[in-house]
Subunit: 277 residues, 2 copies
């Protein structure tokens, strides 16, 4: 582990670390914000943020204004990269496949399966690393945007009891049924659609063993709303199974960080309550 | 004038416009945040933000979290680019001269004098444009960072009565006495150092005809503190002349937007009070 950035921010510290990931078999970076209490060694809950297509660990830490909220609630925030990286890692010229587009799954198909195990990274290796090296109290929440909203929802649903809270901005809720998702799942998991159901929020909701409440914000002017995001599919699945969902449609808002920054305080409040802050 | 970006944000709208500048003789872009009251046509004060070396109109609007503060106070925020732009505009391979480094002066030396009249642009042409096209009430404040902190201070000091308030983050307070400033002023204004005094905050303070209070935040871990910024020169000039200055040294903070985002709420409060918000 090597610290590659360190900035005083909001009374605490925004840092970026790089480390060798065993799961992904490459070097990875993640951003971590430590509120002032954590810099003094007081154990704090950790809130994970998963970013969307094309993003790195930088987008959320520079654009969302998250540090002020994290400082207010005394929460550590960890923002990993969105895929394995490096010259030896398989890639694709398209923005929606390969590096920058890991989709938070464990790939089973060549050439992706050699590195693309982002689910194991975000759900296991990264939390273990964070809890070993920083003042974490073992409580966890998870949230994300777009592909990362999908990542947050499936990661929480696939690991009952592991996260105290989950939320998403403009998530891809049914990757099996939309172009971005079908393309990525075909590449990473193969043609057998049955294997996709373990990575699809709408499918996972149908078999959920715990009723972790979902908070989802969706912009009404989002350019991907009706083609890639389709929040009505999540709404229907939650209605059918009685899964608790707060879906807020925000008229006029698009898919950008201007949308995320506007409503992020509400997401922090949602997580902080569940995390005892 | 053409709107090239529009995003709902913080209950209002973040927009980017491009227009032909007569003063700069090129096409320019600026960001403008309109709080909800301004989108309904209610006249609001306008707060100008001047960015630092290498920046465009994008840095402040995407990284500072300013929109939430502007929405709270009902203030329009305008963030111009930092220099004239385009293939026909003189440039230099260095990051601290030419495009991205206009230093908010009116150049008198070839080849710069053909386009580099950033002072006339930010103090006259841009405000006139903004006040003609948006719901502005004629009240103005100005602030900025680094080269833009210098820009905000000299622009307010050169135009007594034009700005109700001024503030700066990590400003270059004495360009005549530091490497960044001496290089730029030599190129844009020539070797005669007497001509530089009209563009140097420490020199302008000595002849100020009004006592506009200055709010300045300076990070203690800023990598440019002792070589380029030298806030003690401003402190001495204000002490000598009795000019009101609040200089806040913030231990541990660097030159980045993490510093700006941390203390920006205080700057908005400073301006809002003077602007009657």
């Amino acid at each position: 582990m090597e610290r590659v950035e360190q900035h005083a921010c909001a009374g605490g510290r925004q840092e970026v670390w790089k480390h060798r990931s065993d799961v992904l078999n490459c070097e990875m970076k993640f951003g971590i914000f430590l509120p002032e209490v954590a810099t003094r060694g007081e154990p704090c809950p950790v809130l994970y943020w998963l970013s969307g297509l094309t993003c790195t660990e930088q987008n959320f830490i520079t654009k969302a204004g998250a540090q002020a909220h994290a400082a207010k609630h005394g929460v550590i925030v960890v923002a990993p990269d969105t895929s394995p990286r490096g010259d030896e890692v398989a890639d694709d010229p398209a923005y929606d496949l390969g590096q920058g587009a890991g989709f938070y799954v464990n790939a089973t198909q060549a050439p992706w399966s050699a590195h693309y195990r982002m689910q194991d990274y975000v759900a296991h290796e990264l939390p273990e690393l964070v809890e070993r090296h920083f003042a974490a109290n073992g409580q966890r929440g998870i949230m994300g945007h777009s592909m990362g909203g999908h990542g947050a929802l499936i990661t929480a649903l696939r690991h009952p009891g592991r996260y105290a809270s989950v939320s998403a901005f403009s998530p891809i809720v049914a990757p099996s049924q939309v172009p971005w998702g079908a393309k990525a799942l075909t590449a990473y998991l193969g043609e057998d659609r049955q294997s996709w159901t373990a990575w699809d929020t709408v499918e996972l909701i149908k078999q959920a063993s715990e009723s972790l409440p979902l908070l989802v914000d969706q912009g009404g002017a989002d350019e991907f709303l009706s083609t890639q995001l389709r929040p009505e599919l999540l709404e229907q699945a939650c209605q059918t199974t009685g899964h608790p969902l707060t879906l807020r449609r925000q008229p006029g808002y698009d898919h950008s960080y201007y949308f995320i920054a506007t409503f992020l305080a509400d997401h922090f409040a949602h997580h902080a309550q569940a995390l005892g802050r």
